[in-house]
């Protein structure tokens, strides 16, 4: 997928697969009664739209014979950073209920600053601490939002 043409072909095929998956998911919608408009109608229509658009994009790219611009994809280090950053967001989300918002925010911010900026661990630690405590006071205490407090702040 070095060029726009190949990227479009791949995107089109992926969209077509998504359309097929959506068709399969739409066919499994359970209808209990006879309705004038079945709840499957709109999902079917949208699934077909995605499928045909995907095939159309792939076919159009395959037939294209003009100037094909190159796409600048992330290098190996860039991909590594993206994967680690996404994994960190995933962990932050996964451990939110267990640790609570303040503690999860503290770990997330500290690690992200240390990893991405290669900052001194003390700077990362202090920033993480400030963000964790502020998130508790702003979102939970001041705004009263229903974020998990975690065992550390519950007592």
């Amino acid at each position: 997928m070095k060029t726009l043409r190949s990227a479009d072909m791949a995107t089109g095929l992926l969209l077509a697969i998504l359309g097929l998956l959506a068709l399969w998911a739409s066919s499994s919608i359970v209808t209990t009664m006879e309705h004038r408009l079945s709840p499957r109608a709109l999902p079917y229509a949208v699934s077909f739209l995605i499928l045909f658009c995907g095939l159309g994009i792939a076919l159009k790219a395959w037939r294209f014979r003009g100037l094909d611009p190159e796409i600048k994809w992330p290098d190996r280090v860039g991909i590594h950073i993206i994967i680690v950053s996404l994994a960190t967001i995933g962990f932050y989300n996964a451990f939110m209920n267990l640790l609570g918002l303040p503690l999860a925010t503290f770990f997330y911010i500290t690690f992200s600053i240390w990893y991405l900026n290669r900052a001194k661990w003390l700077t990362a630690l202090v920033t993480g601490l400030i963000c964790g405590i502020s998130s508790y006071y702003v979102f939970i205490r001041l705004l009263g939002l229903s974020f998990p407090e975690g065992f550390f702040f519950k007592g």
């Binding site: 919608i29 359970v30 408009l37 709840p39 949208v46 992330p74 705004l143």
Partner: protein, 279 residues
């Protein structure tokens, strides 16, 4: 009850008292702060800050709540311009051009234009509401499902027209958005659509989660990959100097003063409509 100038002047006298102006200022400040947070829109902002208004007299409380609403509506555009995170559906268009301006060191004019256009739109719509409310109420009563369908169809067509020559990609992206909105309970029959038997998806996919994922996460990933901090790229030092010089941006005046009346349309459709008209 017919229209009476006396009631209007009486309203102005009440609204322009020092106490009520003070609570309007407080409300707009808090509303702007709340609106900056993605996911907390004007309605939820009012719901969260409702206890603060219970200690005030009824008129001041209503004025403060209205100020919170307007502040929150405007606050969403700040994060849209500065960090490409639209807090509201109506701020998506602001993020498209505002963030690009911010990257060129024009965050100041973008924020100023956003503030001034918010003021104009809010004031014009309020004047319109004051004088044409009975007419609009009659019109709202005849606004049925076919009209809503036409309006939604127009909104979707506008989004596709944003894609320009890449029509298929535009239709595909619209269809993916529609598919995401189909997840959850069918409003007519109550059947669970595309939930794969999980209860989490029964309530549907939250709109704010989708736009934060599309705009914020992708922007963060681009920045971490390039190891560039977005904040440092935007030249904040120019902010003070540029604020108020919005006219430096060519062609800013026409869209800014243009009317924003589109009855019945949600804010997203309205802003996209006017954005596309300006292209």
């Amino acid at each position: 009850m017919g229209f009476s100038w006396d009631y209007l002047f009486q309203g102005f006298v009440t609204a322009l008292s020092f106490q009520n102006l003070f609570w309007a200022l407080v409300g707009s400040l808090i509303g702007t702060l709340v609106g900056v947070l993605p996911g907390i829109g004007p309605a939820s902002g009012i719901a969260i800050l409702l206890p603060m208004t219970t200690v005030l007299p009824p008129t001041s409380a209503i004025i403060m709540m209205a100020a919170i609403y307007y502040g929150a509506m405007y606050g969403g555009s700040t994060t849209a311009i500065v960090v490409n995170i639209p807090g509201e559906a109506s701020s998506v268009c602001t993020a498209m051009d505002g963030y690009e301006m911010a990257k060129q060191g024009k965050a100041g004019p973008a924020l100023a234009m956003s503030a001034i256009s918010s003021f104009f739109a809010g004031t014009l719509s309020l004047v319109g509401l004051t004088f044409f409310a009975p007419l609009l109420a009659d019109f709202a009563l005849v606004f049925g499902p076919p009209e809503y369908f036409a309006l939604m169809f127009m909104g979707l067509s506008l989004i596709i027209s944003l894609s320009g020559r890449a029509l298929l990609k535009g239709i595909a992206s619209m269809a993916i958005g529609l598919m995401a909105s189909l997840i959850g309970q069918d409003p007519l029959t109550g059947a669970a659509r595309l939930t794969f038997g999980t209860s989490i998806l029964t309530a549907g996919v939250d709109f704010i989660s989708v736009i934060v994922g599309l705009f914020a996460i992708s922007e963060v990933m681009i920045n971490v990959e390039q190891r560039i901090s977005t904040i440092s790229r935007i030249q904040y030092r120019q902010l003070d100097a540029d604020l108020g010089r919005y006219q430096a941006v060519p062609g800013a005046n026409d869209p800014l003063h243009r009317g924003r009346f589109l009855p019945g349309a949600p804010p997203g459709v309205r802003s996209f409509g006017h954005y596309l008209r300006g292209l």
